[in-house]
Structure formats: structure tokens, C-alpha cells
Symmetry: C2
Subunit: 492 residues, 2 copies
């Protein structure tokens, strides 16, 4: 199996596609730009979703569900948001098909079933949600509203990549409403920390928390917080965003509340989201030329056991022993599979589970039974070791934690090695093409300069890190004065 | 609060809407026929979904995700299925909006961004899934495929009702592929039993398992199994369906497999689904004129505790005691809320939680503290009792089971009383308008007769029960010979 994967050095982009498809995470579909998430990939998403969902509930949020469609008149109400998404909207214009009189057995759109008002398939739900909140909010007693939604959204992207950029994707979108600016700002920052916690402690993905420059801000937001991760090819990936919306949507949809003194004011809002894009980031951050490497905490399978036997008698003896081990592992909450299928040989199975990134592989043969040991292989380091069968379950439980930590530390070391200061334009351009990664450089703070730098180098400002140290300097492009370095990178 | 609910006797339909909206389950939305599922309603759906999801996984299924859109050419491939859904399809025809030159600040569909091929928003996913399965299946080793999807679907219904019939709804759809007809048939029946188990043991909703007549069969299926429930107004509700698809979709999408002897054959299929419609059935089956009555196993909240106090000191003493009780309840896995808000009085809170169908309400006052007791009220029977505080958690745990069982038995008794035989046409018509419920009557087995009966009475054949006893008789409409009674009813 592993021979079929393109190596990173050969073609990074093809390596990624090979991993996603041959690793069983996703597949292309018959719909342009849309993908099928296969069971193994969806199992990964379920684990991620369950952790995030618990984190949202622990911070006081509840789930709800709002319509897939946004009537055009609502969609266009918040002008900046509408402008930001108008160019990539799937639009429903008709509500019926009919038999095509000219082609037997074929259907055509029924021209008589044209909608009076077109419906936009949600690219994000601020419009439909704030138009609903108007009916839910009268006074300060109705606030805050802390709601999250797990949903599919559609953005008609022209160039798509499995998980990283698809026309339809799955995500969660939190939409909160508050009585004060301060409370909304605290919420937006809180959710950024939740995302960072999730990325680092579950995905083993170190992230930089920061603020977006105006050019990269969410359309309709007053401030966008983000977490940025680094991929193995030195490109950055925006892994999650949390927006302080100010009163923009409240004003667009006329959502006011009366405070304790009976004064009317517009409501303050936030929204925040992460998507199946995270899976793309996970693949690119940790995997190697033999396949996926998945962090134990969210891996669909944490342990796979492969028997090595000649004949049914040996198989039966090994299986008997394995069932005991399986039970011990399950009792510790470990996700384990015993692959005793006769369809393929152990070597083929090894390659298959390596490809799928199962963190720990056990192999047990007749000799191992005699010696009361198992052969254990770690996916992340490829280390192999012989381990006694007694206490194997506790050994593995500890090992899974060690693997999780090791993956994070490895990614962190790589990331930290790839934050490099650049003090002038030549150095900046040179770094982008050689070392890659994040480049910490002075910027004059204007959208025009950021735009020019992007045109010339394809690098954008990924973020202005939270708690960024102040430092006097000169913009690498205009030499105008600057008070801090910001992080540039080429990005997915 | 409860005064605002229309009574069942006054207007059953308005009673239902009042419960859904004032009970906080759902709300109308700005999109025709689509609803907003509010946090309380979504919490209910989450509990239902989690139980079903575990049942699906315990029977060997995995989740996956397929595109929201179905290209028209795929949609029309299975002719009967296409014909069945063509009249209620939302169709995406364009992928971009642009500024409207004639209306400043408004958007319009960009005529230059017309799709080459229209996309149907999935009303069900057989087409997109079987077109995908073609790429996944080559040999018997690739079978069975046991996949489920949790998704939103759209059917452009003209007359909509909250939960019962909405243009967009949430559901799960299982789609399985098998090497033999027998295996597919076993799967379709197995999932019917899973649905019945869920309805009866979690929703406390007795159901009749049966087979649909050809008129009511799913478009594209060879056999449709269903569970049918009875509402308090004597109308039936189809609560879930499981379809044996034969080789229809395999033929439409050319999905073949080679068996062990290397012979090629088309794959056999099933599909099965339940939706947010179940919530409508739940509401109609159990609730009363004071509000919702929710079965403990899936109720978002199982217990609510309301303090009754004068002044902060009493409140503090009660709260201290309540926190201990809360912890005991939570330790037993019971979902409990303590409502100590000062915004409203105890009587108002009682009515509110009654409206929302919380199974058990506790009230604790200063006198109760002294006596070491709490006042307990059951939502289902409205019984009130004084209960000692020691062992209150275990008492409630047992009580929740008793309530669950009591609700089921009550609904079962009502349902059983409302299955009535009719031996001729006059009796049949008379029963439909007086006693209502299911009517067991002979039918000549022809679609024409069923259609005529429907036209005349609005009653349809809900199902031919599984294990239906054979009995010679004459069709109530045509007097032609019949071998068994089938169940007719007016239905949602
Ligand atoms: Zn290590
Ligand atoms: Zn009872």
C-alpha cells in the first residue's frame, strides 16, 4: 500500500490527496467541488465534534437549528457581509421539476415554479439567525443568547481541495447576543481560547492566537480573532475564527433590547466557527510518506491488533488471548479493533493501518504467546518494541498519552523553528521562498501595503498575535514607522 | 402561562401549535415552510439522535456524509424515485449574486453564473449515494456496506406544519448494499425493529409494525416497512420507514459486484429513515391541555427544582440543601435544573415547567427544610406528594422509570382501544367520523380500491401488520374476496 503514496518531497499536494483518499477519509463526488466524507473520515469528525460540543456546553452554550435557506432580502441586509459572500452563493430559484417533453425519461426545471424571492443556500447564518433573534429579544432579561449550530454550509469556491476548501462543508457556528460590548468581546475571546485548547490538546496542533488585519477580517465583523497553524510545507492554515460583530447585525435586522433603566439599545453580537477544514490541517501537520498519523485522542481507532498464525489452531489460541486484551483495553475506554480477517496477509494489514494512521499496532504470533509478549509498533515514531502481556492495557493507555504529547511537541518544535524575523524586503522575500513558515516583520498598518505585499509575494498577514510585544521599527515595504511585528505567511 | 394554550377540545390543531411554540420547541422562520428548532427542542432531538445513533452502531453501521446537492442527471436516473420527488424539489440554478444596478444596496442573481446542470437539493439521498457506491463496490468482499447519514433534506411541501411537515427537516437515512436479496431483506426488517424499539422504549410511543400497500410505498422501493403510531385525535402518524430497494438503484447506477464464483450481479439495497417529524408525534401522543408531557428517557430536563422562600436567608438555606440533592441526582445521571431566578414567582415557574413537560418538579420551602421533605409533582399524572429528603435521588430515579412506563401503558391502552374492526362500508364510514383510530377492514388488494376509498373518506391503508392473521372476508368497498384485514386511518 504505502508505495502508492506520492512522497512529500516529490509532490506535496499530491501526497495530501493520496493520504485523504487512500487513507479512507474522503472521496470526490459527482457534484463539482463537493466531497463524500467516508466512514473513517466521518469517525474522526465525530470524535472532534463530540469534544468541541462538550466544550461549548461547558461554557454555557446550547445547540439549535436554523434554516438552510436565506431569502435574498435577508441575505443582503448586512451590506458588508452580503458583499463578502455574494460571489460564491448557490441560489435556489425554482421549487419543482417536471417531465421534459423533448426527452423521454428526463426532467427539466418547471418554469412555472419560479420562486417569488430567490433563496440563498447559507454560506454562513448570521442573516437568518439575527432575523430570528429579533423575535426572541425584547429586554436585557432575554440576554445573553448563547447558541451554537452544527450544520452544512455552501460557498461556491472555484478552486477546491478535499477538506481544505470544498463547495459544501460541515461546521459549527456559534451566534451569541449580548447586552454590552464588553460582554460580547469577552465571549469572542473566550471561544478563541476554546478553539486553541481543542487544537493543541486534542489535535496536537500548536496554534498562534491572534487578531486579523482588516483585509482578512470576516465580512460584517468589527474584529476577527483567529488561530493559525503551520503545515509541513511551511504554509499557514487558518484553523478557526471568532468574530466580534459589534452591533452590525443588530442594526441590519433592527434587534434592540431595553436595559434595566428601560433604555433601548442595539444588541451586541459574536459569531465563531470551525469546520471540516480542520481535518485537512490535521492531515498536513502530522502525516508522513507512509500515510496518516493521527493523534490518539481523536483517532477513530487507537489500537489495532493483528494475529500472525499458521492454521486454525494457532489462530484460535491467539484469538482467545486477544479477546482478553481487547476487553481490558475497552474497559479503559480505548478504541480497539482486532483484524483477524483471512482476506489479507499481516504485511498488507500493517501497511494498511500505517496508511490510516492508527496510533498503536500490536502483532501477536504463536511464539509471542509462548513468551507472553506482544510486538508493539508506534505509528508516530515507527518505534517497535516487545512488551509483556501482563498490564498491557495500562501500558498502552500511558503510551497513547505519550504519543499525543510527542506529536504535539514535534509539531511545536517545527512551528517554533519556522517563525523567523525579517528586517527588510529582500530578507522577507528570500525567507518566503527558502525557509518558509511564519515571518515576523514590521508593517505600516495600512490595508494598501498588505494588499501590495500579497500581490507581489502571495503572502498575507496571518495575524497580529495576542499579547504581541511592542517594538519600534520600519515597515519592510514602505519603511513607514511601525510599533510591532506581525506574522506573514503564504496560507491555505 | 397554561391559560394561553388552546385546549384539545377547542381546536386540536391550534393546541398542537401552541405547545410547540410556547413550549419552546420550535419557531416559525422567515423562510416559507422552514422552521427554527429552538434550544429546548433541539436538546430533545439530540437525546433522540444519540439513542438512535448508538442503536445503529450496535447493529454494525457507521456514519458518513454525502453531498447536499444531486445533479439533475443523477436525480432522474431511477425513474420512479425521480417521479416521486420531482414535484417538490428545491433547485439550484445559479452560483453567484451581483449588485443590482437598478437598486442600490440590493443584490440580484447573476445571469452569467448559470449552472450548466441544475442541482437538486436532496429530498433523499439514494441517487447521490448509489452513484458513489458504484466506485466503492467491485466484489463481494466490499459488501455489505452499512452506512448511515445524519442530514438535512428539503421537500417543497405546499402545506406545512411545525415538525410534522416542513420544507426542510433533519433526519437520518441509512443506505445499505448487500450481496443477496435475503440479506437486504433481513436488514430492512432489522431496522424496522430498531425503530419500533426506539419508539416504544424511549419515546413511550406504541407502534404497529407493518408493510405499506403499493400506493403508499416509497418511490423506488420494492417493499416499504413502516411503524405507525396513533395520535390523541385518532389520526395515525407514520413514524419511520425502512425500504427494501431490490436492485432498482443498483440497476439505475450500474452497481455490480462479482461473487465468489466471479459471476457479476447487481447489488441489493435498503434505505431507512426517521426524522424530526418524530417530535411532532411525541407531542401529539402524550401532551395535555396544560402543555407538553415528555418521556423521561429523552426529556431535555428530567427534574426541575424550585425554591420557595422569603428573603435571602431562607433562599441561602434552601439552596445549600438543594445543591446536595442536585449532586446526588447528577451522580445517578439525571438531568436536573435548579431554577432560583428572582425574575418570576414559583407559581409562574410551575406553569412554565408544566408547559415544557419536565417529568418531575420538586418544590422546597423553609417548612419543608425543617421537616426534611420536598414537595414532588409528576407531570404525567399531575399527582403531588410529599417525599422525605433522605434517598430522594434513588426515589426519583425509580419514579422516572415508572413515569416512562406509565406513559407508554397509557398510550398503549388508548391505541388498543382505537383499533376497531369494520365489516361493511357504512360501519367503516361511521367509525372514521365517530370513534376514529385504526379501522381493521377487508380490502381487495387493489391500488384502485385504496385510491377510491381515499378519495371518498381521506382514509388510507396505514399498513398491513407484520404477522397479520389470515381471515377470509369481503372487501368493504368492492365486496371482492379478501384474505386479511388491513389497517385504515386518516393520517398526518
Ligand atoms: Zn516522546
Ligand atoms: Zn403508573
Amino acid at each position: 500500500m504505502s508505495k502508492e503514496i506520492t512522497s512529500r518531497a516529490q509532490d506535496y499536494s499530491q501526497w495530501y490527496n493520496d493520504l485523504v483518499i487512500k487513507g479512507g477519509l474522503a472521496d470526490y463526488s459527482a457534484v463539482r467541488g463537493c466531497m463524500v466524507i467516508k466512514p473513517y473520515g466521518f469517525g474522526l469528525w465525530e470524535n472532534m465534534r463530540d469534544v468541541l460540543d462538550r466544550m461549548f456546553k461547558d461554557t454555557g452554550h446550547q445547540n439549535a437549528y436554523f434554516p438552510l435557506f436565506v431569502p435574498k432580502s435577508l441575505f443582503e441586509a448586512e451590506e458588508k457581509n452580503a458583499e463578502g459572500f455574494a460571489k460564491e452563493c448557490a441560489v435556489v430559484t425554482h421549487y419543482r421539476l417536471k417531465a421534459d417533453p423533448n426527452h423521454k425519461g428526463k426532467l427539466m426545471v418547471d418554469p412555472e415554479a419560479k420562486l417569488e424571492e430567490e433563496l440563498v443556500v447559507r454560506p454562513t447564518s448570521e442573516a437568518i439567525i439575527w432575523s430570528t433573534y429579533k423575535g426572541w429579544i425584547q429586554s436585557y432579561r432575554d440576554l445573553p443568547i448563547l447558541v451554537n449550530q452544527w450544520a452544512n454550509v455552501v460557498r461556491w469556491e472555484m478552486r477546491t481541495r478535499l477538506f481544505l476548501r470544498t463547495a459544501e462543508f460541515l461546521w459549527q457556528e456559534g451566534h451569541t447576543a449580548h447586552a454590552t460590548k464588553e460582554e460580547a468581546m469577552v465571549e469572542a475571546e473566550k471561544m478563541l481560547h476554546v478553539y486553541a485548547d481543542f487544537a493543541e490538546n486534542y489535535m496536537a496542533l500548536p496554534v498562534i492566537k491572534g487578531i486579523k488585519s482588516p483585509n482578512e477580517r470576516f465580512a460584517g465583523a468589527e474584529e476577527t480573532f483567529c488561530i493559525e497553524a503551520l503545515m509541513q510545507d511551511g504554509k499557514a492554515l487558518q484553523a478557526g475564527t471568532s468574530h466580534f460583530l459589534g452591533q452590525n447585525f443588530a442594526k441590519a435586522f433592527d434587534v434592540k433590547f431595553s436595559d434595566k433603566e428601560n433604555k433601548l439599545d442595539y444588541v451586541w453580537g459574536t459569531s465563531w466557527g470551525v469546520s471540516t477544514r480542520l481535518i485537512g490541517g490535521l492531515v498536513m501537520a502530522h502525516s508522513d510518506d507512509d500515510g496518516l498519523v493521527l493523534p490518539p485522542k481523536i483517532a477513530p481507532l487507537q489500537v489495532v491488533i493483528v494475529p500472525i498464525y499458521k492454521g486454525d489452531e494457532q489462530k484460535a489460541m491467539i484469538s482467545h488471548k486477544v479477546h482478553g486484551i481487547m476487553q481490558q483495553l475497552k474497559d479503559l475506554g480505548i478504541r480497539v479493533k482486532y483484524d483477524d480477517s483471512d482476506n489479507s496477509r499481516p504485511g498488507w494489514k500493517f501497511a494498511q493501518y500505517e496508511m490510516q494512521g492508527v496510533p498503536v499496532r500490536l502483532a501477536i504470533g504463536a511464539r509471542d504467546l509462548e513468551n507472553n509478549v506482544v510486538e508493539l509498533a508506534r505509528r508516530d515514531t515507527k518505534a517497535k518494541m516487545t512488551v509483556g502481556m501482563d498490564n498491557i492495557a495500562y501500558y498502552i493507555k500511558t503510551l497513547l498519552d505519550e504519543i499525543q504529547l510527542h506529536m504535539f511537541n514535534k509539531a511545536l518544535a517545527y512551528r517554533n523553528e519556522h517563525i523567523t524575523p525579517a528586517n527588510d524586503w529582500d530578507e522577507f522575500v528570500e525567507l518566503l521562498d527558502s525557509k518558509t513558515g511564519f515571518i515576523a516583520a514590521h508593517w505600516d498598518g495600512t490595508p494598501e501595503t498588505e494588499e501590495k505585499i500579497k500581490e507581489l509575494t502571495k503572502a498575507t498577514i496571518r495575524c497580529i498575535p495576542l499579547d504581541n510585544p511592542l517594538e519600534e521599527g520600519k515597515c519592510i515595504f514602505t519603511s513607514h514607522p511601525s510599533t510591532q511585528r506581525v506574522l506573514f505567511a503564504r496560507a491555505y
